[in-house]
Subunit: 139 residues, 4 copies
């Protein structure tokens, strides 16, 4: 870190502002940070699949946004190179989902994150792992 | 397979009808099949992130739908247990994305699928791998 | 669980005894349990690759054994369906590696585990995720 | 590529020579190349687990070596950042395993590879995906 880097909140402001899909998802930023991102989303009817539960893409999208915000929060442009997700509990309309980001490893070029998504009953609904490549370009 | 199983098209009809998120995505079914699913999606402005490219959740959602349709097309209820995706090229507004599903392995209980997403220039924009658990319940 | 299931230690005894590769690896069982497995391995010269560091297959093998022992420790035959690993620090000859298993999700049919491998300096050298299918067959 | 880069065969010679674990595995190099690596391994008794089938670490190790040789075959030092494997068929003593490497994506910094492992009956026994970070350092 040096003085010329933006604070995490300012970086995420830049990413989040004018982000139409995060807005469609109704993502709320609860906490920004370097290697952290607490996001919240309330599941709406239009996010459901044919089984009446949230499409897997909804929890993925939430986790992927948290990955981007947490990784870029360090002030260097970082891009996702590999992500995986397991959906462990059904997500229903009205559920309130929250991200918990753990930075498992951070080297000069690579960052690895575990992101757990929990519902309002504190049940884990999805387990996400994301690997990012950290460019040398600063925000 | 036996005579009491629904044909792939009828299974996917059941899954796709009344699926609000697939409709929001504008997913078109080009081809249904047992272990196959060719889907198409045109990227709209509201699917973009703050960088002006499609949010990673859009390609994931498209691939995840193709996984569900292909796996369930065999006539047995199948649920995703693990999925991973790598985003290999930027996806822009107006791009037309198409899924190519390869059934890599199918045992009694587990199916494994590679799904490639290509754009209208036949470039690979995402590589997806999905593993499903095949229940004994028929459609 | 019921009375007819074997205790975790007895299950792992059955798996570990007459297991030539675990013996070649020199794996020591520090703790057995239902959903747990603390294993230890000391890196020998013949486990190194051409860079003089441990081959990625060594940490994978250690984690994969811990996955099998932890999942089967519940008393039901469980088989790996998908595993992933990231190697986060170099592993050298003489390093003592220990597994930390976290059972992230356990349903009737599927178990998901995060396994961290640490060295003798308590540094994380590998992050492993494993998904198992739980058969109905008891040990 | 430029003239100062080593040919793939010479790079892999450097990696393979003095590689004790590949030698223990008995890996034979059938074909080297930029983005390619055909390796072969015959399963020995000491590679088995307590079920009398090859330990998952054996197929992983073979695929991981093929990943390293294929990625570094381009002449730039490349390191694995994330790998995953699914074991789809049992591997027995005496089986002859061969790697098929497909380079799915290659950008300046990241390479993504699908590696299929087949046995002597041309059955797929494992599906491996590997992501590498390509350093700027040449061999």
């Amino acid at each position: 870190m040096d003085n010329e880097q933006l604070a995490p909140k300012l970086v995420v402001d830049k990413m989040y502002n004018n982000d139409p899909f995060s807005k469609w998802l109704g993502i709320k930023r609860i906490e920004d940070g370097a290697g952290k991102s607490v996001l919240q989303l309330t599941v709406r009817q239009e996010m459901l699949n044919g089984f009446g539960i949230a499409h897997g893409g909804i929890t993925y999208s939430l986790a992927d946004s948290a990955l981007a915000f947490a990784a870029n929060g360090h002030g260097r442009m970082s891009v996702s190179v590999e992500t995986s997700i397991s959906h462990t509990e059904q997500v229903k309309e009205g559920d309130i989902l929250t991200t918990l980001v753990e930075e498992m490893s951070l080297s000069n070029k690579i960052g690895i994150y575990h992101i757990t998504i929990r519902n309002q009953h504190d049940q884990t609904v999805a387990l996400f792992k994301g690997t990012v490549y950290r460019t040398s370009k600063k925000w």
